[in-house]
């Protein structure tokens, strides 16, 4: 055992939720720990700490990752999106609105991770079928809802997003 339990800290620069961020961390610290404990972004949740529950899901350069499996030093020069950065300045993202409307939130602990997984899916395929939605959300555990209302919320958000897109397209 190391008699001095402190590791030398490393400086990391990245972009989090659109803002440039600079922090010091130990090499052993996960992205999840730094987000939650150092940066105060507690929207990403810690469930299993080993990649099995998806409560810590965030987007890293647009790719869905479990923040508990990423070391904080790995995000150097990268972009991170957490639930805190999802909503536009005014109002909510359609996924957030539909989670509310469809009653897809019960305790709400899985919700941030679910919403970010769903966002990753819709960025990849704006028109997913039910089975594709279920495949993309299979890494996010929810013990409360039985998933049904979550799947409906993602479907409804997909529909609204594509309507918005269509509206943008017809604009001259």
């Amino acid at each position: 055992m190391n008699s001095k339990p402190y590791a030398k800290k490393v400086q990391v620069q990245a972009q989090i939720n659109g803002e440039p961020v600079e922090f010091l961390c130990e090499p052993r610290q996960t992205l999840l720990e730094v987000l939650r404990e150092s940066l105060g972004l507690t929207g990403a949740k810690e469930g299993c700490s080993n990649g099995n529950c998806g409560a810590c899901s965030v987007l890293l350069d647009g790719v869905l990752v479990n923040a508990c499996l990423v070391l904080a030093v790995e995000i150097q020069d990268k972009r991170v999106l957490t639930i805190e950065g999802l909503a536009p300045r005014e109002g909510l993202h359609p996924l957030q609105e539909e989670f509310l409307r469809q009653g897809a939130v019960q305790c709400g602990f899985c919700t941030p991770g679910m919403i970010l997984s769903a966002k990753a899916l819709l960025d990849h395929n704006p028109h997913p079928g039910e089975s594709e939605i279920r495949r993309w959300l299979a890494g996010n555990l929810c013990r409360c809802t039985g998933y049904e209302k979550i799947v409906r919320a993602v479907q409804a958000a997909a529909e609204r997003l594509s309507q918005q897109e269509a509206a943008v397209e017809v604009k001259p």
Binding site: A44, G47, C53, E84, L100, Q106, C107, F109, C142, C144
Partner: protein
């Protein structure tokens, strides 16, 4: 006050304004934006991080604990062991209970399960805390373990608790034992009943230990100030329960403790009692009052917090030629875990709870084993019991060639029938639910393929009432703040605010509900037992009535008349026989003219919880090669009483069914022979994902509870009960084998099929 419900009955279905609608939950916005503060999100200046050292043995004597090296580690601020806990000197059963709670917090001279806490540390970072744990030296003297109830009941079994003697309702055994208690329901003449039977089916069952499996691990932050005041933030279903547990373990008065419940990431019964809270408080005290934050990792959650009991169950049921039950007998042996207290109180009434049985005997045995102390899980003790009884009932129907719903129509309990424990049933909606199931297209839909089967199972659950409290304040803009003692696990702030809005005749948006800490309202039982919308809802109704009476007095002051000249209807106060009218909001704006601001409080104990009934239908397909069971369709019919917010009721039903599916098919603790838990993580202890759970269709039947002002019954627990039995029955119909063990994993299904073919 103790409420008398009998005269609060509303006979004709009343037209509600708010009740029965589906507003967006008031806490929803914070939850979709990540702003909601859950237990582990609490941030206090100067926080230390706590961690717990746990036993690698299932059963061992603790010879010594050397913490010196850990204490010397830079950054470590406190280390505690059982030596830091006060001795509990109270005698008798209650004293034993408190000692068990204390020993479960930190093991004293024996560890009783893999994962049992033996020491805890607080350090300036979580990494230093875990390094400190590694430098604590513990010397164990391992003992043989008793892991299974039947093994633990044998004469030569290793004894867990030296002082334990079997309690049979006040009569004590005189030998050391692992059987903590024996309970019995009995009526009629069992022998005669079986003698009258044309068909008797008798089976034995075994069910695994399963965990509530909330995604958010247990957590606690605590500050123990030098003046003795303790403040605790934690995710709990029962803020007052935690306060009492901490007071008991640390032997300090409840008035010194304030528990502030945060948002909670699921509970299902698992967050009713304290694990980390007393440790965080003790570590804070020892580190000079710095805040100490603790959170379990998921391995600790599985290994050391209350799972529900593994069980062995024997069921014997006799019916006459027409399918009428002539006798029913069951023996339930439940694994309590390391200390007494398995949920026999839930399993025994549930096992034949849906049936009228004149000749009946149900025996229950609470047995300690070297597993974590069992806790509550959604309708505690019922799903495994009903798995046993409902598969026997299904086998009877199959042998008689009788329609399964017709069998329930013939034998199902009705108002006035007696429960297994003798208490007569009030108005219930079981037969209405059976009718709804029979009429549902699912019941007659073609199965559409080979290796498919349809299963049905029913359930009774008593629900719980109990003590609740709330306070409401009226503001000048007509809004009302509602401070209530029930933790909101699943949207109850909204279902309570809806009942207050209905009573006061004002819009839901005018009510601002908030969960109170233990210093802000009077005692309120935890959010368990499907009780919050029922019991705290009743409080809120009475609170509304009280506000109306007080506001009538204020209107009388304004109108210079007597309060009995003021009447109230649909949100408007008016002068009897006069022209004067003031809407709630208008009157609120003029409170200043009437002398003083206005608030009211109500506490009550609700005795008349309405029993719930459920009828579930499920279609499965069994892979003949692998034994894997796929669920194709699921319909869950339930008498919810009056549904305050049908969307929330549906959520409870869907979530409960999903949990029951996990219990049925793949959840279960796996121990090695030495009693080490082999699957203490979420990869190997597999919770259902959205690929395992089909679209679950909830069907709500509304038979109002005559003993609640708005007819509420309680809905949260019963949906978990029928799934294991319904799925087992569907498997039997699909491939012709009756499974008697949970979980019904592919290996077991395949083995049963192969054994039958051989």
């Amino acid at each position: 006050m103790s409420a008398d419900p009998q005269d609060s009955v509303q006979e004709a279905a009343p037209a509600y304004r708010v009740i029965g609608t589906r507003p967006i939950r008031q806490d929803g916005l914070d939850k979709v934006t990540g702003r909601a503060v859950f237990g582990a999100d609490v941030r206090l200046p100067e926080t230390l991080y706590g961690a717990v050292l746990r036993s690698p043995h299932a059963h061992a004597r603790l010879l010594s604990i050397d913490t010196r090296q850990a204490e010397a580690l830079p950054g470590v601020k406190a280390v505690v062991t059982a030596a830091d806990l006060p001795a509990i000197t109270l005698e008798g059963d209650w004293g034993d209970n408190l000692r068990y709670q204390s020993q479960n917090t930190l093991a004293a001279d024996k560890v009783l399960y893999y994962g049992h806490a033996v020491a805890a540390v607080a350090a300036v970072s979580p990494h230093i805390a875990s390094e400190a744990l590694r430098s604590i030296q513990v010397v164990y003297d391992p003992l043989p373990a008793a892991l299974d109830v039947r093994q633990a009941m044998r004469e030569d079994a290793p004894i867990l608790l030296d002082t334990l003697r079997t309690d049979s309702l006040g009569q004590r055994g005189n030998q050391p034992t692992n059987v903590a208690s024996h309970a019995r329901f009995e009526r009629g003449d069992l022998e005669q009943g079986f003698a009258q039977a044309a068909l008797v089916v008798e089976r034995e069952f075994e069910t695994a230990t399963v965990h509530p499996g909330y995604i958010e691990p247990q957590n606690a932050s605590a500050i123990y100030q030098s003046n003795g005041q303790v403040t605790i933030w934690c995710s709990t279903q029962a803020a007052f329960g935690i306060r009492d547990d901490v007071a008991n373990v640390l032997q300090i008065p409840v008035g010194q403790i304030c528990v502030i419940p945060t948002e909670i990431g699921g509970g299902f019964g698992g967050k009713n009692s304290a694990y980390l809270e007393p440790l965080a408080a003790l570590l804070s005290k020892k580190s000079g009052g710095r805040p100490v934050k603790m959170a379990m990792n998921y391995s600790e959650v599985l290994a050391a917090t209350g799972p529900t009991s593994a069980s062995y169950i024997h069921v014997k049921v006799g019916v006459d030629r027409d399918g009428l039950i002539t006798a029913a007998q069951a023996t339930l042996v439940y694994a309590a875990g390391a200390y007494p207290g398995s949920p026999l109180w839930g399993g025994m009434p549930a096992i034949f709870g849906a049936y009228r049985v004149d000749n009946l005997r149900v025996d229950g045995y609470d047995v300690v084993v070297n597993r974590p102390r069992s806790g509550s899980l959604r309708a505690p003790g019922a799903a495994n019991a009903v798995f046993a009884s409902e598969t026997v009932m299904d086998e009877i129907c199959e042998k008689l060639g009788m329609d399964v719903l017709e069998f329930r129509r013939l034998n199902g309990v009705r108002q006035g029938d007696r429960r297994s424990d003798g208490v007569p049933l009030p108005r219930i909606g079981f037969h209405e639910a059976l009718q709804a199931a029979r009429q549902h297209p699912h019941y007659t839909a073609p199965l559409g393929g080979p290796h498919r089967g349809r299963g049905v199972a029913c359930a009774y659950w008593g629900n719980h009432g109990g003590k609740s409290s709330a306070t409401a304040s009226v503001h000048a803009d007509g809004s009302v703040s509602l401070l209530e003692g029930s933790v909101d696990v699943s949207g109850t702030r909204t279902s309570l605010a809806m009942q207050l809005a209905e009573t006061l005749g004002i819009p839901l948006e005018a009510i601002h509900p908030r969960v109170a800490d233990t210093n802000a309202v009077a005692y309120t039982e935890g959010s368990y037992g499907s009780r919050t919308t029922f019991a705290t809802g009743w409080v809120v109704y009475e609170l509304g009535q009280k506000l109306i009476a007080l506001l009538s007095e204020r209107a009388a002051i304004l109108w210079e008349t007597s309060p009995d000249q003021v009447q109230f209807a649909e949100g408007v106060f008016s002068h009897k026989g006069g022209e004067k009218r003031l809407a709630f909001k208008e009157l609120a704006a003029r409170l200043d003219e009437t002398g003083s601001p206005l608030m009211a409080s109500v506490s009550l104990a609700a005795g008349g919880a309405g029993p719930a009934f459920a009828v579930h239908l499920v279609d499965v397909e069994v892979d003949p090669e692998t034994g894997k069971v796929q669920i194709l369709r699921y319909t869950a019919v339930q008498d919810a009483g009056q549904a305050i917010h049908p969307g929330l009721v549906e959520g409870q039903i869907q979530g409960g069914v999903a949990q029951g599916i996990g219990w049925a098919l793949h959840e279960g603790y796996v121990y090695d022979e030495a009693g080490r838990l082999l699957n203490a993580n979420l990869l190997d202890y597999r919770l259902p994902t959205c690929l395992d759970v089909p679209a679950i269709e909830p069907v709500i039947v509304e038979m109002p509870n005559p003993r609640h002002p708005y007819g509420v019954r309680g809905v949260g627990e019963i949906p978990i009960i029928p799934p294991p039995a319904a799925i087992a029955n569907a498997i039997a119909r699909a491939v012709g084998v009756r499974l008697t063990q949970l979980p019904m994993s592919p290996g077991r299904v395949l083995a049963a099929r192969l054994a039958r073919d051989a």
